[in-house]
């Protein structure tokens, strides 16, 4: 039995995010260009990291679960800088 999965956008639309003005993730694409694995692209459960044609990383912070997977799997210190969004901002799990 296989049911049609919801699209990734529909999946993310089930989560409430209070998007703050400040990006709580920063990525140093210069470091990323020398990265061969780009583990953040596959591992981030919110799919926030996208490789660019020039070998860098494009990311958005708006739909972040604040889980920390990206900086934990990143093998280059300093490529991903990660803090919490401002108080009250960011993901709001309704059930959790």
């Amino acid at each position: 039995m296989h049911y049609p999965e919801v699209s990734f956008d529909e999946r993310m639309a089930t989560v409430e995010f209070r998007v703050g003005e400040r990006a709580h993730i920063t990525v140093d694409s210069d470091v990323c260009r020398s990265c061969t694995t780009k583990d953040c692209v596959h591992a981030c459960p919110a799919g926030l990291f996208v490789p660019t044609t020039d070998g860098g990383i494009l990311f958005n912070y708006e739909q972040c679960f604040e889980c920390g997977t990206c900086y934990q799997v990143c093998n280059a210190e300093g490529a991903i800088t990660w803090t919490y969004p401002a108080g009250g901002d960011g993901v709001v799990f309704r059930k959790g």
Binding site: R11, V15, R18, T37, H42, T69, A86, F93, G96
Partner: protein
């Protein structure tokens, strides 16, 4: 919160189960305690994966089960060993867990954490939400003297800081107690909450009234070290996987794809027919256990809950919320005593560890300190589920007119067919016996 610097006896960072319990004990001891939470409400940033075991709550509220925001009381606890097309389920059911004092329950973290933090507030703690603690305040000698928050002028000075700031604990990292990253000791849990009518859940899972089911799964993560879970709420079912970060990164498989595979498994799919996705969530889990725990007390600061790697991930036992509450209670009691005695140095706070060694919090962690290695080992993940399922399948496959060959020969055939080395099987069996003794 006023725009000026605040002073308190204690500041607790994070209003999850550990923080709420710590603040509760301090407030009960008559101490002025501030409980700081970065979410809009307690639980807004939190996710769990199955069952909250309530026994520790006996120390929080008498007859807590009459008021806790429960979804269902777990009366069925199943373990499913799977390959992509097979599943062997050991399903335990007891009516001992369907009435007070109960054993485990399913909850929503938004409800549960808000309820628990409410107990601290009722006892006199001051809860400050939507506020991020951004740094520790320290004196010239390096002892922790409070926290900086992201509010203007939002420093809070305190005799003790209790860091209950979760798996990413930036406070424990800032204090040098935890490494910046530890992917080898960290797993990612991803979960879907799926809506189904209550009667449908009751029928499909064989439940009555507020009974609930929790299934833990092994062999459902495409060879990535980890496992899966499914548990019932009142009118939703939660299903997800937990996978090691190192293995996930190496496999280059998307986390939501791993959930999709579990949901499509022939042993799971019929349960979820027609269910509608209500919330997708993700959270890290510290699974390093006893051997990965940081120092728990330094001058002016204690660490509790996920921040101190207190999730027990020992295969059969996957517990976190209860350990966080146990640690939080011990931290709050210790801090209250240390404040009263006028010594909140590491030495004055040393009773925290002794308290937890005498209780389940550190005793269980110490006893099962090697269990996670066994469960997440390659053979346990990639070889043994197939071996077990294959053996059971052969035992139950009737081969008439060929006669049965007997269980022992059948087992060794399965061992050979699955390319399992007998020597490693024996060694792993022995190690498992020792790890779970």
């Amino acid at each position: 919160m006023p725009d000026d610097t605040m002073t308190a006896d204690a500041v607790v960072v994070g209003a999850g189960p550990a923080g709420a319990a710590a603040a509760l004990e301090l407030a009960r001891a008559g101490r002025n305690v501030v409980l700081v939470e970065r979410g809009a409400y307690p639980g807004a940033k939190n996710v769990y994966g199955g069952v909250v075991y309530g026994r520790i709550l006996d120390e929080v509220v008498p007859q807590w089960w009459t008021e806790v925001p429960v979804q269902r009381w777990v009366t069925r606890r199943a373990t499913m060993v799977m390959t992509p097309t097979q599943a062997l389920t050991v399903d335990y059911r007891t009516s001992a867990w369907d009435h007070s004092p109960y054993n485990g329950m399913t909850i929503y973290r938004g409800d549960f954490d808000t309820w628990l933090a409410g107990k601290a507030v009722a006892a006199g703690a001051q809860l400050v939400t939507s506020t991020v603690v951004t740094a520790l305040l320290r004196d010239a000698a390096g002892r922790v003297t409070g926290v900086r928050t992201d509010r203007p002028g939002g420093d809070i000075h305190a005799k003790v800081v209790i860091a209950c700031d979760g798996v990413n604990s930036f406070l424990a990292k800032e204090a040098g107690l935890l490494p910046r990253t530890s992917p080898e000791h960290t797993t990612l849990g991803v979960k879907e909450i799926l809506a189904l009518p209550r009667e449908v859940i009751d029928e499909r899972f064989g439940l009555v009234g507020d009974e609930g089911l929790d299934i833990e799964m092994l062999g459902c993560t495409s060879g990535i070290p980890g496992g899966g879970f499914l548990y019932t709420n009142l009118d939703t079912v939660s299903v997800g996987v937990v996978v090691g970060l190192t293995g996930l990164a190496a496999a280059k498989t998307r986390p939501e794809e791993l959930i999709a595979r579990v949901k499509a498994h022939p042993g799971v799919a019929p349960y979820l027919r027609g269910a509608e996705l209500k919330e997708y969530s993700a959270h890290l889990i510290p699974e390093g256990g006893y051997r990965a725990m940081p120092r728990l007390a330094i001058d002016g600061m204690l660490v509790a809950g996920d921040a101190a790697s207190m999730c027990l991930a020992a295969g059969l036992w996957l517990e976190g919320v209860n350990f966080a509450i146990g640690a939080g209670l011990a931290a709050g009691q210790t801090a209250a005593e240390a404040i009263a005695a006028g010594d909140t140095s590491a030495r004055g706070l040393a009773g925290y560890r002794r308290r937890m060694e005498a209780s389940f919090v550190l005793a269980d962690h110490k006893r099962y300190r090697n269990a996670a290695d066994i469960v997440l080992a390659d053979r346990m993940q990639r070889e043994y589920p197939g071996l077990i399922c294959d053996f059971v399948e052969q035992v139950f496959t009737v081969t008439n007119p060929t006669p049965k060959i007997g269980m022992i020969r059948e087992f060794f055939r399965a061992v050979r067919r699955n390319h399992v080395q007998l020597r490693s099987l024996a060694r792993d069996g022995w190690r498992a016996l020792r790890a779970f003794r």
